[in-house]
């Protein structure tokens, strides 16, 4: 690929989704975009670059953005964040919202739905304690085709074997040959919507906890900071933020602070750390 074309794609991706492409990603770029070029009748990426540069063909531009996204995910990914959700986050939210009896969860880069569905199943498991509570699980992603898959809720054997306890599979899925489909009562707990984290998100509402996992890793520092700020703006002052295992706010944003001893779990920087740390003292995760 010519350097000039690489730069066109790099600049476009940065602007459209925040994805940072370094020159060592040329191979990735080629393998993901060649099918897009072919699908649109171009023989190579140079023609596709021309279209992107021109910036008028919204359909092709969207295809490029989607093709470059990495959708890797799994049910109950990394385990511990879900344990923290159950033992620390949820009890605190229930205390905070005792009057409204509402729990508002946002899965902010939900890929094919494993994250919001894991949360929904967890809520089902908790069961009676949540009777009378209204639970809203809002799940968003930039990619329409991955959202279609999420809404459909059908997963391969490979996908359901990573992280999902077998008891959950039996309880919350239906088998369809080699495929496994999440049951309607779990599915109906989740609202999916297309949302670009770089866009204006102020209108989406207010949340008690935001799962923003394994997406900041693709952004550069200013973009990370900007997204962390926007997420703060739609999080309740007593709310929570959960990041992925390789992500941190350190050196990036002053808006959030780590809850000591609980990797990946953040509170608004002016939150009531002392009280929560005391409550968490006896909890080992």
């Amino acid at each position: 690929m010519r350097d000039a074309d690489f730069e066109i794609f790099r600049d476009y991706m940065k602007k459209s989704s925040g994805l940072v492409l370094t020159p060592d990603k040329v191979y990735l770029l080629e393998s993901r975009l060649l099918p897009v070029a072919k699908e649109n009748g171009f023989s190579d990426l140079a023609d596709l670059a021309v279209i992107i540069k021109q910036g008028t063909d919204a359909k092709i531009m969207k295809q490029v953005t989607e093709a470059m996204a990495t959708h890797e995910s799994s049910f109950m990914r990394d385990g511990k964040p879900y344990e923290r959700f159950e033992k620390i986050i949820l009890p605190q939210i229930m205390e905070n919202n005792a009057a409204s009896k509402k729990i508002r969860i946002w899965s902010a880069a939900c890929s094919s739905g494993q994250e919001p569905y894991s949360l929904a199943m967890l809520m089902k498991e908790i069961g009676a304690k949540l009777d009378g509570w209204r639970i809203d699980i809002f799940a968003t992603d930039i990619s329409d085709h991955i959202l279609d898959k999420a809404r459909d809720g059908t997963f391969t054997q490979f996908e359901i074997q990573r992280g999902l306890p077998i008891q959950y599979l039996v309880k919350y899925f239906e088998q369809n040959g080699e495929q496994w489909r999440i049951k309607q009562d779990v599915k109906s707990m989740v609202r999916f919507q297309n949302l670009n984290l770089l866009s204006n998100i102020a209108h989406i509402g207010e949340f008690d906890v935001v799962f923003l996992r394994n997406v900041l890793i693709y952004f550069d520092v200013p973009t990370k900071a900007e997204v962390l700020q926007k997420v703060r703006d739609v999080t309740d002052d007593k709310g929570f933020l959960v990041l992925g295992g390789a992500e941190t706010v350190m050196g990036i944003s002053e808006k959030w602070k780590l809850l000591k001893g609980h990797n990946g779990l953040y509170l608004p920087a002016d939150g009531n750390f002392e009280a929560l740390e005391q409550k968490c003292a006896g909890i080992s995760i």
């Binding site: 992280g163 306890p165 077998i166 039996v170 239906e174």
Partner: protein
Amino acid sequence: MKTCLVVDDSRVVRRVARQIVEDLGFECIEAEDGKQALEQCLIKMPDCVLLDWNMPVMTGIEYLRELRKVEGGNSPMVVFCTTENDMSKIMEALAAGANEYIMKPFDSDIIRSKFEQVGVL
């Protein structure tokens, strides 16, 4: 060192599984069918069992039912690892006392994640 009993009538599967569980830090014991596996368990209970379903002499599910009846037989964590991938089979396995269930093909990631789930890792 924790022990893992690998039960499968295929030598190839046992070899691959041995490699994986040893890499995970287990001492590996092998059995070719359910009967051999039960005999091994009566000598010494392993910490976990990676269990095939269809085997000659005694199947995995028959072995599991017997295991859960003997003294100390509730302690091993039993993870099925089988080509049987029907919901009804999974439910049958859970009812017989299985702790987890892997549908073949398997790899080290799946085994690790299932062993973590049952708490032997």
